[in-house]
Each structure stands twice: as C-alpha cells, then as structure tokens.
Amino acid sequence: MSGHRGQLLVIATAVLAISLIAALRLSRAPEPRASRLLGCLQAAELIHAARLCWSMPGGCTPARMEAIASALLSYNESLKLMLRPFSYTIYSSLAPGRGLYSITYMVQVEQPYEVRFEAEWSCYEAGRYVKVVGGRELLFTRYRLHYEHRYSAPMWGTITTYPKLWDPRGLADLEYLGGGDWTAGVPAGGYALEDEYGIEVRVGGA
C-alpha cells in the first residue's frame, strides 16, 4: 500500500512539475528573451550607421545608406555580430525654423522590432546685430535653437542626447544654454552649422 502511495506521489509530483513549467512558459513575455538581450549591440550598430549616413556631405541618400548597410553586413560573419536582416526608411523634413533627419529600421526577427535614429532641431529668431568680419560689417541674426538626437530601440526605449554644435567656417556666435538649447548668431539669410558628428543643421533661411 505504501508502495502504491509512493508511486502515486511520484506521478503527482511529475504532473505538478509539468504543470508548473507549462504555466511559467505561458506567463513569459512573448518576445524571445535571447534576441532582446543580445540586441543592444546590434541596435547600437544600426544607430551608428544611421548617424554616419546623415553626416555625409549632402545628407543621407539611399545609395549611401546601401553602401553603409552592405559594409555593416559584411562584418556580420567575420565578427559574429549576429545582425538580423533589416530594412530601413530614410526620411527628412526641412522647413523654416525646424528640421528632422531620421532613419527607421525594421529588424526581421520572429517578432520584428523597430530601431530609429532621429536628429531634430527647431529655432526662432531672437534678434539681429551687426558683426565686423574681415573688416566688413555683416548683418547677423540671433536665433534661439534647440537640437537633439533620439535613439530608439526596444532594448533601451528612447535615449535623447544633445550633441555639441559648431561652425566649420568660424563665423557663428554659439552659446550653449543646456538641455539642447543654444543661442546662435549667424549671418542673416540662412546658415549651416554642424553637430559633433558632422550632421548639418540649417538655421534660418527661407
């Protein structure tokens, strides 16, 4: 009798163990944990690629992005980067007082996810002044400018950074106020600044 009870106990334990494991599996988040854990580095590579593309003279074009993506994928095998196949959409929007550059990736895994790079700015005129440059008086426009990058991926949510701005031609008067806010005095009629990654930021103009 005690033997039977022992055997029944084993069967009951087995049923309980299977039920618990099944319940645990069902209660897990549907997204494969392995790819989420391993995806940080891969998502960062995509953000870095997008930032490089937009830093190219004239901005990011499909041909340039194709070359960058090909270069990245060529290292997939040799460095075992474990990059998954991805597609991307290049987008830009320029209007008086604002601008946006972005690349959105769709990573093709069991449950596709999005990685996005965005560089965005907005500015408004805050005054005018005259500056002597090379012995000539030039009319400058002072702008209040906000500039930020946003890097989005499921692994970390959205990271917002405030890259430094500078003027390659050395004419602008730039002052950082903190939190991505700047005052920028630039020659009237529109002017191009750059951020620390080489991405062009157009201030003012039509």
Binding site: L8, A49, Y75, Y151
Partner: protein, 110 residues
C-alpha cells in the same frame, strides 16, 4: 501498471527538465557577456570617432573600468589578454561623413 506509469512520468519530467535547462541555461548567453555587449553598445552610441582619433582606450575604460583587459582596433592594441578574458566584437563604420570601417575587439574580464 503503476510502475509503468511511474517510469513514464519520470521520463517525461526528465525530458521536460532537459528541454527547459537547454533553453534557459545551456543555450543562454552568460549574463556577464550580455552586460559587456551593452557597454560596447554604449560606446558606439557615445562616439563615432573614437577608433580614428585615439580615444578608444579611454572610452573603453569609461565603459568597463577595471574589467577592461585590452582593446584592439585596426593594427593598434591597448592592454593585454591575461587570465580569463572574453572578447566583444563590434565595427565602427566611420565618422564625420567618411565610410571607413574598423574592427574593434574589446577584451573584458568577467
């Protein structure tokens, strides 16, 4: 019959346990490697130019502190592999508008 059921149940539990362990433990990436890859991800987000301007070792030290064993990029090396070290690989594709890929290998102590 009960003994047969018992044997079947034991076999089932063993099979389920092996499957779960295979998925959760044996096939899983060690946590310290995941952490190291996240730190390299931070390095990529923080700087496009580090491998080209000589700042990569400093960036790696900021990311890993005393856990950093070595950094290899292009033909340059900082530090040395000694003791238990595992490698995290990444590629910096270029900076400031120029496509110029550089393989980077960072040796990290557990």
């Amino acid at each position: 019959m009960l003994r047969g059921l018992e044997a079947l149940a034991i076999a089932l539990v063993t099979a389920v346990a092996v499957c779960v362990m295979r998925l959760e433990l044996w096939g899983a990436v060690p946590q310290h490697q995941v952490t190291a890859e996240r730190a390299v991800a931070w390095m990529l987000l923080a700087s496009d130019s580090a491998p080209y301007t000589g700042e990569l070792p400093e960036l790696a030290r900021m990311a890993f502190g005393e856990k950093l064993a070595y950094v290899r990029w292009g033909s340059s090396t900082y530090g040395a592999a000694s003791g238990e070290v595992y490698a995290v690989r990444a590629v910096w594709l270029g900076y400031n508008g120029t496509l110029s890929p550089v393989e980077v290998v960072i040796g990290v102590r557990p």
